[in-house]
Amino acid sequence: MINASAAVWAEGAPTLQEVMPAEGVFSLIWLLIALPLLGATVLLLGGRRTNTWGPYLAVLTVSASAILGILMVVGLMDRGAEERSIGQSLFTWVFAGQFEANMAFQLDQLSMVFVLLITVVGALIHVYSLGYMQHDPNRRKFFGYLNLFVAAMLLLVLANNYLLLYVGWEGVGLASYLLIGFWQHKPSAAAAAKKAFIINRVGDVGLSIAIMVIFVTFGSVTFDDVFGQASEVNEGTLTAIGLLLLLAAAGKSAQFPLQAWLLDAMEGPTPVSALIHAATMVTAGVYLIARSNAIYDRAVWAATAVVVVGLITIFMGAIIGSAKDDIKKSLAGSTMSQIGYMVMAAGLGPIGYVFAIFHLLTHGVFKAGLFLGAGSVMHGMNDNVNMRRYGALRAAMVVTFITFMAGYLAIIGIPPFSGFWSKDEIIHAAFERSPIIGSLAILAAGITGFYMTRMVAMTFFGKARWEDDAHPHESPKVMTIPLIILALGSTFLGMALLFWGNIETWLEPVVGFSTSTSPLSTEAVIAISLTFVIIGSIIGWISYARREVPIVAPRGSLLTRAARADLYGDAVNEGLIVRPSFWLSRLLIWFDGRVVDGLVNGSAALVGGASGRMRRYQSGFARSYALSMVGGTVLVLLALVLVRLS
């Protein structure tokens, strides 16, 4: 059965594309990364001198990268489908024995869409941050970190080998750490930053071991070499690599079982949550899996593990998102859930990769819009994040409300908003693999409808439950314009990519594509999932817009309480990892103190004590020395005589 499905997958698998030399605008691939890196360097090393103009420089560098990216996508579209993979090698970076890694970039259809997402959404969020962070004394540093993030993320998606990808992977992890802990004077933010960093480290270990296994197996870490030879390697090795890469993806993308950091990561400023923890960085895991499709297509067990991890996370995220009163944490749960969809789709094989990336793009735009909308609400509500103290804000902040609604309709998947197209394609693909996976995906779509309706109802509808000193107001233009652009994206991007951009044919040369042969027709899937979404939304509406929302959260059911505690993710980590580690280290300390030190100190004390006794024989009396000499001589003589006699 496994072999049969593997054969099916091989059909849709892509053949390796020929890499074209970098000419024309594509000779500037390096500049995409260099610009934000330059911005980060100037801002972070320039110090206070750059305080006044630094943030504008940061916006400028990212916008320049975005313009460059748009020029490149136009250039790629002009070329034939087989000429769209472009390589640029700058210099040999690591060279040791047989090992060689170049500072080399590969811009193909997959990297291209990521470059666009990162630079365009990144630029919008930079602009938005100009308003959002206006009064922060450290905003120069903030923009420096944001630029650093954009540079690292671009390096991640443009690298043509796993080692360079790893540099970007660590770079975004660092930027994420710095930005979550940006308000490090708050102990909770500092702790959240450390938590994110440490949990990510677990995934990074997976990635580094995967790279080592890849090098040992293939003798190279370049994507082309690895994917070109993947068919010659046995399935066991590929499964091992696939599982290790899945561990890496789970860490970066906050998938089960490494999901615990994302909710705490909301301690960072809201633009950070939008850019890093919703639109781009957390999708790096999906990128890694989609990029390594040649490995997963030939390692069915690893791909199945990807599906399972994705499914579990879809539900964890959705349940957590349904219970949180903190608007950002609720959105974070939703992010987990949506990335779960992408990961699950990426595990479905060639029928899923394209839609995983498709959903990633639409989600990147509408979730960024939702987060920035939440930031705009917080901006007007004295940075209060508790949705129980919102209510009836639709009149006070019209632009935020309308743009948020666009994101809302997109995420729950109402046609023709962008999320509808991508999510339904994923559900449809899931049905082909197994009716169970498909049904679960539809059920989760219903929960999405519930928690997003709950969020919208609690924030914009119902009665005002504001705190006394709250004077909700619309945010300045510099914040609302990015919101409007993202709302337009949330509305039209799905259709644009599907009908005008032909996302399947665009991505097919990189990730492969096979049309679905699902027993359910597309119309049936749409009908069922829309029904579930509407039921979920109606339940959410009745519970949170019709009924009074209590200001103090009620005790709630067992599930609600569990979800408020992040489904005990921290407790599980604490019980399974942290405490046993403590015990182990205590045991080791005891062993070191008692046994190792005991042996060393004991033997020293033994020698010391024994020599203390021995030296008493050095009495200083010459006659006793003479006696011992005589005695010794007599003993030697006796021995000689005995030997002679025997």
Binding site: Q618, S619, G620, F621, A622, R623, A626, L627, V630
Partner: protein
Amino acid sequence: MNPSNVVILSAILFSIGAVGVLVRRNAIIVFMCVELMLNAANLAFVAFARTSGNLDGQVVAFFVMVVAAAEVVVGLAIIVTIFRTRRSASIDEPNLLKY
């Protein structure tokens, strides 16, 4: 000539010397006992040389005497120095060089 009587005499002299070194406290007496032991050894050397008929033993006896003379020079000088500082020739008293 049967050397056994001479060797026995030599052994007796050596034993007297050894016991004297061990039991007497006066440095001069101890010194004399050491000389007694050396000369007991000399006696044995000479006796064996006579029986075996070559001169090696006799030569060694001369060497022992020379070494003994040198030893006396150094040893007596030390004893005199000790006597000068401590007003005593007991060999148990200078016992500072110990643990």
